[in-house]
Amino acid sequence: MALRFQNIKKKFGDLTVIRDISLDVGDDDFLVLLGPSGCGKSTLLRMIAGLEEVTSGEIHLNGRQVEHLPPSDRNMAFVFQSYALYPHMTVRRNITFPLIMREHKWWFHIPLVGYLAKRRIETKPDIRELVSITAETLGLTQVLDKHPRTLSGGQRQRVALGRAMVRQPAAFLMDEPLSNLDAKLRTAMRAEITRLHHRLGGTFVYVTHDQVEAMTMGTKIALLRGGDIQQFGTPREIYERPANTYVARFIGTPPMNLIEAQFQGDSLRIGDRLLPLPETAPRGDDRKVWLGIRPDAISLTTADAADALPVRVTLVEHAGAESLLAFDPGSLRVARDEDGQSDIMATQSGYSGIVAGDRVGLTLDIAQASYFDIDSGLRID
């Protein structure tokens, strides 16, 4: 295992930020730490880097226990949300800085002598080549001798990536590196970082609150909430088999619908409708559950169709490729979010002709459904 957390805990005074986290991340894995603000994801990343001390527990990198080591001895590269470039240095010096630091001696602090020594390192053929290859990869060749203040946000973030790349670190750590960029640039940089991971290999740990970034970039996602891991798995596992109602609602736009239902033998009662359960679905005598169904697993039919749930349309949004529909659940009980949102949501491809106020029937594809305990919210298999 390339990166292993063992019973990691972190407290700031009396405030527990990370409760007890244990994780194993393989070589070449792209781990995304995902969660809302204040869930502890950035703290966890900073503990890996050595910027925060671990209250208790162990961190192993490539078999080496590192939590007691200073950041510089961990051989990790960190890309900050705010880029954190050295404003008084050129792009070239920013990128070369970690390499200069590797050969740094105390007398580099002597004015002029230090300047010449650093320059000598910067102009070494192998370092020049490494920097120019890195700059070329990131499209920074033209700006190598400029200062960060003259660059655009995207270029600055690429400089930060370049500074991380030249170190050839054991792990890349990234703390919401794209959240300061506009939507278009973010999409481009997302692809760039994914390509970087494919090309360089190694372990990447990436913090984000953006589930699209998590789903598209990660090979593994750890979804955090309140200092605990809610679920750890591949993006597909997390999307298709959420471990609890929190994960179910957090992943997916619009989120998974949670409708109260009751097992009855080989059927599932939703409101006054009785739907046959597929063979793979769990069973439970008269047990009440949350039926979790993704908006794309709901199709529309007429309001009086058998097996369909009759509802009233409250909102129709056309996003071009698909239409987003919201329905008043009526007498059905649905799980409320913290924001009080309680409509049933469905998506339809193309431009829907339905308008708000229409009465329609919902057909649920419960072969794709998840089931959760009504009290604990945990998944039932």
Binding site: L51, P71, S72, A77, S82, Y86, H88, R102
Partner: protein
């Protein structure tokens, strides 16, 4: 049209303030180049008399002005160098580290500024006499530095507060030590503030009078502020000479300021982080 009015009004206002600030200096120049007889005439001259340029030459020849200026320069530069050297690390610690008694230390620095020089001159005299620091420029540098360091520390702390911590964290990850961070990252980024505090410390040493008057009795170690005051006699004061010496006394300070002020530019940290 309105904008142009506002612009002209602003120019006028700036010129007015500039005039108020510069007039005393101009008046010194006029006085230094006015003959003694005319000085006390009913209507004073408004323009300098070029024929009286000899006052400067006489001042240079008849007084040890160059020695005084040399001593003042040594003290001012010494105070500047020592103050910056002593203030940088405490300023960094006050800005970036948390330790027991930090607030007390920070407030303690403030308290030292509340005591007037005149109150400290006797105890300092006693201490300096024990350490053989009387009649020495080193003693004066130490005394002035003690007064400059708290101000310099507070100003530098404010500047270091303005450097985003991520930049330092990035340097730590890149393998920079704490001292390395201060020297390689922090100091270049606060260069404008360093220049500003250098000016403050320089003037502290250059202008100081009470300590210099009390601690120095050797004529060859006299500084310019004391030398200037020595012209004021019980019966008469040669105003033209005093103004000539006074104007000469301000020149090195102005030169120092001009040398340093080009580093006082805003926006050193821009571009490092998003914002």
């Amino acid at each position: 049209m309105n904008r142009s009015w506002a612009f002209h009004f602003r120019i006028l206002a700036v010129l007015a303030v500039l005039g108020i600030a510069a007039f005393p200096v101009y008046w010194m120049a006029v006085t230094s180049m006015t003959s003694s007889e005319e000085l006390f005439a009913g209507s004073p001259r408004l323009l300098p008399d070029p024929a009286q340029i000899g006052t400067y030459a006489r001042a240079l020849v008849s007084t040890p002005l160059l020695t005084w200026l040399g001593n003042s320069l040594i003290i001012a530069l010494g105070t500047t160098a020592l103050s910056l050297l002593l203030a940088i690390l405490p300023a960094y610690a006050l800005s970036r580290m948390s330790f027991r008694g930090k607030l007390l230390l920070a407030l303690g620095l403030f308290v030292t500024q509340m005591l007037p020089e005149a109150m400290l001159v006797v105890p300092l005299y006693d201490i300096f006499s024990r350490f053989a620091l009387l009649d020495s420029l080193t003693g004066l540098i130490l005394a002035n530095t003690a007064f400059a360091v708290p101000v310099v520390t507070w100003i530098l702390k404010g500047a270091i507060d303005g450097i985003p911590t991520e930049i330092e964290e990035a340097a730590r990850i890149d393998g920079c030590s704490r001292v390395g961070i201060v020297l390689t990252i922090v100091l270049p980024l606060i260069a404008p503030t360093l220049a500003a505090v250098a000016v403050i410390a320089f003037f502290q040493g250059w202008n100081e009078y009470v300590f210099a008057q009390t601690f120095i009795s050797d004529e060859s170690l006299k500084v310019a502020s004391v030398g200037l005051a020595s012209f004021v006699g019980e019966l008469s004061t040669p105003m033209d000479t005093v103004m000539a010496v006074g104007l000469t006394y301000t020149l090195p300070a102005v030169v120092f300021y001009l040398l340093v002020q080009r580093y006082i530019v805003a926006g050193m940290t821009s571009g490092g982080v998003k914002g």
